[in-house]
């Protein structure tokens, strides 16, 4: 992190005024391609031998402003923006693994990630071992010689579960594999995983970063500290000659941001999920108010959680900001400014109670997203986690009685009144 404060960086990082016109807002470069100076410069660009733009599948100046902004806020060396959080996971893991390789993931993840890892990745010959992350040693127990990464969410969706990052990072470092942390729910305002030993940070920028529920996007941030050459041949995409680039080696040529360049120059080039410049503009603009939004949303989430904790229709509340919550101490350690604005509750009336709540609210919106300025509710068992087995869903904190709540920026008394009337119907 530079000497500037988080709020300053959220507004300025990556977005100095456009030098030709002086435009102060981030310009939207709605272009597919960029004119070359001459044939020699074009060849150098295609060979990654000089800096510049070729084609918006690879780079776009609006998108790169967003990339630099999030990389700066996370304290990483470089970022790669992609079309969604799922694309970020696909490109990051695809860069690290080949057919037959394995990785270890926490079993408390966004349901869509569990599905992506256990079905579509399996089809590509990549095996994910899911472990109960409540005991960090479970990651060490699941290690095999083919494991190439460990994957966790800092604040897990949907359950308000905080991952004990420090011991997991130590296990990853001892095993010589990078720790990948999905920091979507915490955002760098609440938690900076690189400070706890993470090597790669991923985001669904769709959530709190953009913050207004208007753009799907994802980010891969390179921490820059992992030594990809420590074991020869273990990460060939970083250390071996790249055939498409005439034998260029990414780690040798780009050093501490070699991983990010490989994700871009190979991952985006060949897999293709680039972020549209208009979405990048909306997300980058959203980030300007990230600190204010996160602070207020955390405060309101705590008030709403306290209200629900004492409500007769509620069996339990899983929010790490509550003092009696089992994750309270971990939240104080890893995210002292707040425990996030997404949590789950268990309805005494079970599945039916969950359905009744999401259908009875008037201000909360019943939809499959989180991190919006608008407050949101969802019944995971009938939606986001529906494609999991009952065992997977329960392990992920999405049993039949569970409702997920994402607290937005409305007047908190209105939110409490809305939930109260829906629960009382």
């Amino acid at each position: 992190m530079s000497e500037h404060g988080f709020e300053t960086l959220a507004i300025h990082a990556g977005a100095a005024p456009e030098p030709t016109t002086g435009a102060r807002a981030l310009p939207i470069y709605q272009t597919t391609s960029y004119v070359f100076e001459d044939a020699d410069e074009a060849a150098a660009l295609f060979n990654l031998q000089t800096f510049g733009n070729i084609y918006s599948r690879l780079t776009n100046p609006t998108v790169s402003a967003l990339e630099e902004r999030v990389a700066t806020l996370e304290g990483g060396t470089a970022g790669v923006a992609v079309a969604s959080g799922h694309a970020a996971q696909f490109i990051a893991l695809h860069t690290l693994m080949s057919v037959g390789d394995e990785f270890i993931a926490a079993n408390k993840l966004y349901g869509g990630s569990i599905t992506q890892f256990s079905t579509t990745f399996a089809k590509m010959g990549l095996t994910c071992h899911f472990v109960d992350s409540s005991d960090p040693e479970n990651f060490a127990r699941a290690l095999t010689p083919k494991v190439k990464a460990i994957f966790v969410e800092s604040l897990a969706n949907p359950g308000g579960v905080v991952t004990d990052l420090e011991p997991v990072a130590r296990i990853a470092a001892d095993a010589g594999v990078p720790l990948i942390v999905d920091n979507t729910l915490a955002t760098p305002y609440l938690c900076r995983p690189f400070e706890w030993g993470a090597d790669i940070v991923l985001h669904s920028a769709t959530k709190f970063l953009g913050g207004h529920g208007n753009s799907v996007g994802g980010l891969i941030i390179d921490g820059g500290k992992f030594n990809w050459a420590a074991e020869p041949g273990k990460y060939p995409a970083l250390t071996e000659p790249s055939p498409g680039y005439h034998g260029l080696r990414f780690y040798e040529t780009f050093g501490d941001f070699g991983f990010a360049i490989s994700c871009r120059a190979v991952g985006l080039r060949d897999l293709g999920p680039s972020l549209a410049p208009f979405n990048a503009f909306l997300i980058a603009t959203g980030i300007e108010t990230l600190p204010l939004r996160m602070q207020r949303q955390c405060e309101s989430a705590l008030e709403v959680a306290r209200f629900l904790d004492g409500h007769p229709a509620i069996e339990w509340v899983s929010y790490a900001g509550l003092e009696n919550d089992p994750h309270y101490d971990l939240a104080r350690k890893y995210m002292p400014k707040g425990a996030g604005a997404v949590f789950t509750v268990g309805l005494k009336a079970g599945f039916e109670g969950g359905v009744k709540l999401v259908e009875g609210v008037e201000i909360f919106s019943h939809l499959a997203n989180i991190g919006d300025a608008k407050s949101l509710v969802l019944h995971p068992a009938s939606t986001t986690h529906r494609q999991l087995t009952p065992e997977q869903a329960a392990a992920a904190g999405a049993g039949p009685e569970v409702v997920r709540i994402s607290v937005g920026l409305e007047t908190v008394e209105d939110l409490i009144r809305d939930l109260d009337q829906a629960l009382s119907e």
């Binding site: 100095a16 030098p19 150098a44 990483g76 470089a78 250390t239 941001f257 360049i261």
Partner: protein, 170 residues
């Protein structure tokens, strides 16, 4: 050159102003280990620096007498017929002490001894500093130029530059 990030050593941190001042005040660079092969990092770093108006003189015994990117290559630093502002080392850590020894004999003394990204030799660096040279290790001047000038931001790289000014300059 090999990647040897020497992770057991304390990480290097150079103030932005130091790197800026080196890149502003340097005109002639002697690049030890410059390759004549178009797809080696030293070759395209040299090409990039030439485009940014630096004169880069290749030093490489295997290329001595040949021309690389329009510049005559020499076998050693002492054969270079012009004043050298900066010696840039595109060689592994083991080759650095020899380069420092030779640089020390030059008159005038080069102002900067710069070891390329992935190359670090603290002992040789201290010796060069004791002789009066400014030392940078494990950095690439092309990347630093692109970082401070904003070009590398196009690759999503964290430049560390925060500015509301319209025109960027190194």
């Amino acid at each position: 050159m090999s990647v040897d990030l020497a992770e057991d050593l304390a990480p290097l941190a150079y103030p932005e102003d130091l790197i800026r001042s080196i890149l502003r005040n340097t005109r002639t660079i002697a690049m030890v280990g410059a390759s004549g092969h178009w797809n080696r990092p030293s070759f395209f770093a040299m090409k990039y620096l030439q485009k940014k108006n630096y004169r880069v003189i290749p030093i490489n015994p295997k290329e001595a007498g040949n021309t690389i990117l329009g510049e005559m290559a020499y076998a050693s630093l002492s054969e270079v017929p012009v004043e050298i502002d900066m010696v840039q080392c595109f060689r592994g850590p083991g080759a650095i002490p020899g380069i420092v020894e030779e640089a020390k004999t030059l008159s005038p003394l080069p102002k900067v001894l710069w070891m390329q990204l992935g190359v670090r030799n603290d002992e040789a660096g201290l010796e060069a500093e004791a002789a009066g040279m400014t030392v940078v290790m494990d950095r690439c001047p092309k990347i630093e130029y692109g970082r401070l000038g904003g070009e590398i931001g196009w690759l999503g790289v964290n430049t560390g530059v925060i500015s509301s000014r319209r025109f960027k300059r190194i």
